[in-house]
C-alpha cells in the first residue's frame, strides 16, 4: 500500500483491513454474486472488457453477457445495500488497473452457494484478463498452514495426489499398480456427505485425524447426535478434544509441525519443510508411525517409513506437480512453489500463464453463469437479526491451540452489535443476552461495535467451551463443495434474567465471568 496499491475491501464489517482500504464496500451478508455480476455488467457496458483475451482464451462469453441483463447497478444497490456509484467506481478501478488481484477467504466460501460465489469472481478475472500474469490473479487465502497441502496430497474425496481424477481409468490403474491394491474409480464422500451417510446408517465407523468437528461444524447438537450414533469412532489428535471425548479409541499424536518431519504447503503453493524440534510427550507418537502400525494390524506391512520416503512417493506419483522438489532442494531453496516438474525447474510463481499464449494452448476457460441467491435463512419477524461468525487476530478456530497462551488481546465471547440495535432492544454494553436461532440458544454479553451494520450481529467460535456458537449456525451446505453457511443465519436476542441460568441447554455457558 505504501507503494501505491489500492485495496478495495468488500466486507459486511468495517475490519482493520477495511479501515486501511482505498474503498470499503460494506456489503449485505450473502449478496456477493449480485455485486460481482453488477461489476461485470458495468465493465461490459463501459466497454472495458479485454476483448483480445476473451476471444482467445475463454469460452461462453456471449451467454454469460446475456445472463447479466438484470444485474444493473440499481439492482445491485437494492440487493447489496451498497451505493451504485461506489460499485461503478470499483468496477472501473478493477477493469482499468494494469494489474489487479482478487483475494478472498471464508466470507465467500462459507455459504450455501460457495462455489457460485467463487465462479462469479473468476468471471471478473476472465472479463478483464486479470489472470495468468505477474501481479494479477485469483487468490483464495488459506486459513490453515496446510489446507492447500491437504488438497494437493489427495485428502479430498475425488482426487489422488496431484489432483489426479479418481474417475480417470488410467490414473486409477497407475495407482493400483504402484500400490498393488485395486482402486475403486469412484468418488468418496465429503465430510458433509459422510455425516449424512452416518445419519442414514450407511457409514458406521469413523477415523478422525486432527479435526474437532463437534465444535467446528454447524449445528453442534446435531453433530454430537450423529457422531454418537456411530458403531466405532477413533480420534487421532494432539488434544483430548470434545470430539475425542465421544471416541471409542483416542490415539495421542505428536504435534506435526514441531514434533515430526514432513512438509506443508502454504497459500502461494509453496511446499516447505516442517521439522522435529522436540520429543512428543507421553504416549504421543509420530503420525506416520501410527498409520504404519495401523496398516500392519490391517494386514499391510509397509515397514517403517520416513516422511522423506512418503514425499518421494508423492513426487513419483505426481511428477508434473512435485517431481523436482527433493528434500535437498526444499532445504536449500527454502521451499518451492508447484508445479515444479524436474530438478532443474525453479518452481512457479503464478499459474495459468498459458492463457496468454498466442495461439491458445490447451482448452479455453469457460465463463460460468451464476445467479444471485440470498442465504437460506433471512431475518424475519421472529428472528430479526442476521448472525455472521468469524475470527479474531489472537485466536484460532475452536481455540484448542490458541487457548494455550495468555494473549493480552483476548477477550471472551461476546455478541457484537451496532449501537442503534443495542439501544433499540434496550440493552447496555456488557448485558448478558440470550441469542437464539431455530436450532439452539446461547448466552453471551453484548458488545457495542459501531463497525457493524444495523441488523447484523457478529460472534466468533473461538470459545466454544464457554459459548457454543455453533449451536446456532445452520447446516445448510453447498451441494457442490459441501461447505456450510457459517456466515449467515437468523437469530433473535432477548434479555437474560439471572435466575434462568440453570434452565439453559447443557452446552450453553456464560461468557465473560
Amino acid at each position: 500500500m505504501h507503494n501505491g496499491t489500492k485495496i478495495i475491501s468488500v466486507d459486511p464489517r468495517r475490519t482493520s483491513t477495511a479501515q486501511w482500504a482505498h474503498r470499503h464496500l460494506p456489503i449485505r451478508v450473502g449478496t456477493d454474486i449480485a455485486l460481482a455480476n453488477a461489476i461485470a455488467r458495468e465493465i461490459i457496458d463501459a466497454g472495458l472488457v479485454n476483448e483480445t483475451f476473451i476471444a482467445r482464451a475463454t469460452a461462453g462469453y456471449e451467454a454469460y453477457r446475456g445472463s447479466l441483463d438484470r444485474y444493473t447497478l440499481a439492482f445491485a444497490e437494492q440487493e447489496t445495500g451498497l451505493d451504485a456509484g461506489l460499485i461503478r467506481e470499483v468496477a472501473h478501478l478493477y477493469a482499468r488497473a494494469d494489474r489487479a488481484m482478487i483475494c478472498w477467504t471464508l466470507g465467500i466460501t462459507e455459504h450455501h452457494n460457495a462455489v457460485d460465489n467463487v465462479l462469479s469472481l473468476i468471471n471478473l478475472s476472465l472479463l478483464t484478463g486479470h489472470v495468468g500474469r505477474y501481479g494479477s490473479g485469483l487468490n483464495p487465502l488459506r486459513g490453515q498452514n496446510n489446507v492447500q497441502g491437504g488438497g494437493d496430497m489427495g485428502a479430498i474425496p475425488n482426487r489422488f495426489v496431484g489432483f489426479q481424477d479418481i474417475r480417470d481409468p488410467e490414473v486409477c490403474d497407475k495407482f493400483a499398480r504402484a500400490w498393488g491394491v485395486p482402486q475403486k474409480n469412484e468418488y468418496g464422500m465429503t465430510m458433509t456427505q459422510m455425516f449424512e451417510a452416518i445419519e442414514h446408517g450407511d457409514l458406521r465407523s469413523l477415523f478422525v485425524i486432527g479435526e474437532n468437528p463437534v465444535q467446528s461444524e454447524a449445528d453442534q447438537t446435531k453433530t454430537e447426535q450423529i457422531l454418537s450414533s456411530l458403531d466405532h469412532l477413533v480420534v487421532f489428535d494432539i488434544f483430548m478434544t470434545k470430539t475425542a471425548e465421544l471416541a471409542d479409541v483416542v490415539l495421542p499424536s505428536a504435534a506435526g509441525w514441531c514434533e515430526s518431519e514432513g512438509t506443508v504447503t502454504n497459500s502461494e503453493r509453496r511446499v516447505q519443510r516442517i521439522r522435529k524440534a522436540l520429543e512428543p510427550p507421553g504416549e504421543a507418537r509420530d503420525e506416520i508411525a501410527v498409520l504404519c502400525d495401523l496398516a500392519r494390524r490391517l494386514g499391510a506391512d509397509w515397514g517403517d517409513i520416513s516422511a522423506e520416503q512418503v514425499w518421494d512417493e508423492v513426487r513419483e506419483m505426481a511428477p508434473a506437480m512435485f517431481g523436482g522438489m527433493s528434500y535437498a532442494r526444499l532445504e536449500q531453496e527454502k521451499g518451492l512453489r508447484w508445479p515444479c516438474p524436474d530438478e532443474s525447474h525453479p518452481g512457479t510463481m503464478y499459474l495459468h500463464e498459458r492463457l496468454w499464449d498466442n495461439p491458445r494452448t490447451g482448452p479455453p476457460v469457460p465463463f460460468n453463469i451464476v445467479e444471485h441467491e440470498l442465504p437460506i435463512e433471512q431475518a424475519d419477524a421472529e428472528y430479526p437479526f442476521v448472525l455472521t461468525t468469524g475470527r479474531r487476530l489472537a485466536d484460532y478456530n475452536t481455540g484448542v491451540q490458541s487457548g494455550g497462551f495468555a494473549s493480552p488481546l483476548r477477550r471472551s465471547e461476546s455478541v457484537d452489535m451496532h449501537p442503534d440495535d443495542v439501544r433499540r432492544l434496550g440493552f447496555a454494553d456488557g448485558d448478558r443476552v440470550r441469542i437464539s436461532s431455530r436450532r439452539g440458544s446461547v448466552v453471551a454479553p453484548v458488545r457495542i461495535d459501531p463497525t457493524l451494520q444495523r441488523g447484523l450481529v457478529f460472534m466468533t467460535f473461538h470459545f466454544q467451551d464457554d459459548v457454543s456458537v455453533n449451536l446456532l449456525t445452520i447446516d445448510a451446505t453447498d451441494p457442490k463443495a459441501g461447505t456450510a453457511e457459517f456466515k449467515a443465519c437468523a437469530v433473535k436476542l432477548e434479555p437474560v434474567e439471572v435466575v434462568v441460568d440453570h434452565e439453559l441447554p447443557a452446552h450453553a455457558g456464560i461468557a465473560g465471568d
Binding site: H2, W20, T52, D98, G129, R133, Y134, G135, L141, R142, G143, Q144, N145, V147, Q148, I238, F239, M240, V250, L251, P252, A255, G256, W257, C258, E259, V264, T265, N266, S267, E268, R270, Q272, R273, I274, R275, K276, A277, L278, E279, P281, G282, E283, A284, K334, G335, M349, L393, A394, Y396, V400, Q401, S402, G403, G404, F405, A406, S407, P408, L409
Partner: protein, 317 residues
C-alpha cells in the same frame, strides 16, 4: 496495452575502492553491502537488511575521500570511483567514542559482539565515573524536553530504570535501550503499521514510548513481537527468555534451533524454535526467508504454548 512487468529490474555494476582494493558492487547497494561482500567487518547496531536505514547509531561510519564528515556505511550508496577507508584512525576514534557513550549510559550486557568491539576499539567506559542511581519507575517516561537538572560531576548519566512488565508476553527493559529506532520502524511503516510506539522526548530524555506512555495492553500493540525480533540489545525480550535469564536457567549451550513452519494460518511463516531441555522457550523467524522477511504475528511468535501444555497434562491412550 497491459504492461507485463518483471519483478525486478537488472542492476549495473559500480567500481569503487575499499581500503585500497578495487571492488565491484551492484548499483544501488550500500557501502556496507560492498564491505560485507569483500569480507570487511563493519560493526552495526541500528542497521537491519529488512528495515529502512535511519543512520542513528553511527557505529558503522567509514571515511569517504572528499567527504567532510564520516558517512554511515549502512545507508550511503556506492558511487563509481568512491574511495572508502573502513579502519582509519578517524574511523576507529569515532567508533570508540560512540561505543563509550553507549556503554557508559546503557546496559549492553545482552548486546551480541559488543565486548569484542570494546576491546577492538580500546573503549574505557569507566573513565566517565561511577553510574548515577537508576531512575525510579516511570520517571523517564514523563521527562520533558528542555527540563535539565544541573549535571552531577561525580557520576555518569545513565538510562537505568526498572524493567516494564505489563503483559504476559514480553518485557521492555529500557535500561538496555540505545534508541536505535528499529522497534519503531518495525511497529510502523516498515513492517506492522500498528504505530503503537514512537520516540518521545528530546536529547538525553528521549525514549521509546507508547502514546501518553500507557501500558501496552492499553496501547495499539498487537503483540506481533516484530519489535523484539529487531531489537539489537535485548531491551525487548519475550517473557520466557526474560524469566529464564533472570533466574539463571537460560543456557544457550543447551539449546537447539530448529526451523519449521508455523502451525496456524496459510501464510507459511518459518518459525525457528529455540528449545532447551525439550521445552520451547522462544520462536523467531529468519530475516532472509522471503515469505515474511522474519515477521510474525502474535500466534506465530507466542502461540506455541499449547505444545508445552500437553507436557503438563500427559495424554495417554
Amino acid at each position: 496495452m497491459i504492461a507485463i512487468l518483471p519483478p525486478t529490474a537488472p542492476a549495473r555494476m559500480v567500481e569503487l575502492e575499499i581500503d585500497g582494493v578495487e571492488v565491484g558492487a551492484l548499483e544501488g547497494s550500500t557501502i556496507l553491502d560492498a564491505c560485507r561482500a569483500n569480507a570487511k567487518q563493519i560493526p552495526t547496531l541500528c542497521f537491519l537488511d529488512t528495515l529502512h536505514p535511519v543512520n542513528v547509531c553511527r557505529i558503522c561510519v567509514v571515511e569517504v575521500e572528499g567527504s567532510r564528515v564520516l558517512v554511515p556505511s549502512c545507508a550511503r550508496k556506492v558511487e563509481p570511483g568512491m574511495k572508502v577507508r573502513t579502519d582509519s584512525e578517524r574511523v576507529r576514534h569515532s567508533r570508540k567514542m560512540v561505543l563509550e557513550f553507549l556503554d557508559s549510559s546503557v546496559d549492553l550486557s545482552t548486546t551480541p559482539d559488543v565486548a569484542d568491539w570494546k576491546t577492538a576499539y580500546g573503549c574505557d567506559s569507566e573513565r566517565y565515573g561511577p553510574p548515577a542511581l537508576p531512575a525510579p519507575a516511570a520517571e523517564r517516561d514523563h521527562a520533558h524536553a528542555g527540563h535539565h537538572e544541573p549535571p552531577d560531576p561525580d557520576h555518569r548519566a545513565t538510562v537505568a530504570q526498572p524493567v516494564k512488565i505489563d503483559n504476559s508476553l514480553y518485557v521492555r527493559a529500557y535500561a538496555k535501550c540505545i534508541l536505535c529506532y528499529k522497534c519503531v520502524e518495525a511497529c510502523g511503516t516498515d513492517f506492522q503499521n500498528s504505530f503503537a510506539i514512537g520516540v518521545a522526548g528530546r536529547g538525553f530524555a528521549a525514549r521509546i514510548s507508547t502514546e501518553f506512555a500507557v501500558e501496552l495492553p492499553q496501547s495499539a500493540c498487537v503483540y506481533c513481537g516484530n519489535c523484539i525480533a529487531v531489537c539489537p540489545t535485548g531491551a525487548l525480550m519475550a517473557k520466557p527468555e526474560w524469566d529464564k535469564r533472570s533466574d539463571g536457567t537460560w543456557d544457550e549451550s543447551r539449546q537447539t534451533q530448529t526451523d519449521t513452519i508455523c502451525p496456524y494460518c496459510g501464510v507459511g511463516c518459518t518459525l525457528t524454535l529455540h528449545v532447551q531441555d525439550n521445552e520451547i522457550l522462544k520462536a523467531t523467524s529468519p530475516f532472509d526467508q522471503t515469505v515474511t522477511s522474519g515477521n510474525l504475528c502474535i500466534k506465530g511468535r507466542f502461540g506455541w504454548q499449547y505444545v508445552q501444555n500437553r507436557r503438563e497434562d500427559e495424554p495417554s491412550a
